[in-house]
């Protein structure tokens, strides 16, 4: 069901943990739908993401997408990080099963939430960053009548 890359990131998730006094932290998803992701960002004065950590409550895909998302944003500027889409996360993982696409959206969203927190704390406005939804919908799923 999962690609080898997904399994690898699930078995050996990168950047699990917390950051003390993070520049920004964001939590998205809810336990009701079964997935919660929390991202901690450490951002330097040049707007570069120096460190990132995550904690995730969720399925294999949720863990793997969080892990991959941390890898993709680490070392990037805030502006570059904003361009890391769920599609990019999925591609980097060699794809996800259709029912798990929402996990990648959650990963994207959790980065945005942490960036929003960072911007709020700093009193900044980041071009293109919207107030994150606390949850995402699953409307991307194939929904057939039966």
């Amino acid at each position: 069901m999962y690609s080898e890359k997904v399994m690898d990131h699930f078995e050996n998730p990168r950047n699990v943990g917390e950051i003390e006094n993070p520049s920004g932290v964001g939590t998205v998803g809810n336990a009701k739908c079964g997935d919660i992701m929390r991202m901690y960002l450490d951002i330097d004065e040049n707007h570069v993401i120096k460190d990132v950590k995550f904690k995730t409550f969720g399925c294999g895909a949720a863990v793997a997408t969080s892990s991959m998302a941390t890898e993709l944003v680490k070392g990037k500027t805030v502006e570059e990080a904003l361009k890391v889409t769920n599609k990019a996360v999925m591609d980097a993982l060699d794809g996800l099963p259709p029912v798990k696409v929402h996990c990648s959206l959650l990963a994207e969203e959790s980065i945005h939430a942490a960036l929003w927190d960072y911007a709020e704390k700093k009193g900044l406005t980041i071009e293109g960053l919207k107030k994150p939804k606390s949850d995402i919908h699953e409307d991307e799923e194939e929904e057939e009548e039966y």
Partner: protein
Amino acid sequence: MNKLIYLDNAATTKTDPRVVEEMLPYFSEKFGNPSSIYSFAAANKEVETKQRDRIAKSLGAKSNEIYFTAGGSESDNWALKATAEAYKEKGNHIITTKIEHHAILHSADYLEKHGIEVTYLDVDEYGLIDLDELENAIRPTTILISIMFANNEIGTIEPIKEIGEIAKKHNILFHTDAVQAYGHVPIHVDEMNIDMLSASGHKFNGPKGIGFLYIRKGVKIRSFIHGGAQERKRRAGTENVPGIVGMGAAAKLAEDSMAERAKQESDLRDYLINRVLKEIPYSRLNGHPTKRLPNNANFCFRFIEGEGMLIRLDMKGICASSGSACTSGSLDPSHVLLAIGLPHEIAHGSLRLTLGEDTTKEDIDYVVDNLKEIVKGIREMSPLYEDFLKKNK
């Protein structure tokens, strides 16, 4: 994978090699169509009757009250839909529960779209229905009570005899989905006043793709699959002779070994439950502590989501499930766990371990030892656990 510890016998069981042995001649040697007249094929009619006898005997039923189907889902669909059709003059109300298998629940949905009213009974924290609530739900238009014998997720066994008495007292048909119970616990259709009963071969070490519906003589029943005159004109389709032979053989084996096996499995199950509850913090047992299937254990572990746990168990060669296998493909937590009152985030962290004849104490020890580590590991990356620890610091 080297080690394989199969603890998902509620999803499906290994077809017993003795069963396969009995089936084999019916593929390429005695392959005749039982409806044919020549002796080569007509002999298969008798073989079929023999299986019907075996199954009937195990239930205290009559041979001609057993109808072969393609499995538990078909049996459940048939029982509900055909009863609704046959008794529509009498009424349009059916009573069932919130914890039925989807084969019942989705058939009930379907019927609701076609003018049938359905009452879904609540269950208590153990998954047991309330007999007073059942009796209060009965209306003059009630034509059927369909309540599962034992739940496929949490293993709870419903008070079937008492339900049967209520149904009989009110002259209402009683169907029970016994897919998880048949072959595992004793069932007697007369003593329990059961009018219809669904079972599925692959849940008691028989083959997949075969099941049966017991229908008490006198119950008006329409066909669900229309066509040829098989199964006394009630269920069309060339008979799956090897499947029928296999299910008959499995029924016999299950009946003969039931007492011994139930003892062995429930001893191991209790050993498993005790170790888990003692050694893994924030764990709970789902389902009733004693009124449960001999081979079923179901736990919740707080701060954890089930799928990740399953994958990590799989890496250790342990086959287990979280909720029912059939609901995979859905993201919602099990409707059964919600019905017993668990909050969503806890319902997501469930683990079902269902033992088999071959399960050993060593297997259980291996599983618990690994499970402890896995739960610990997953909790360490859980934001919920983090919050919990901070709050309780």
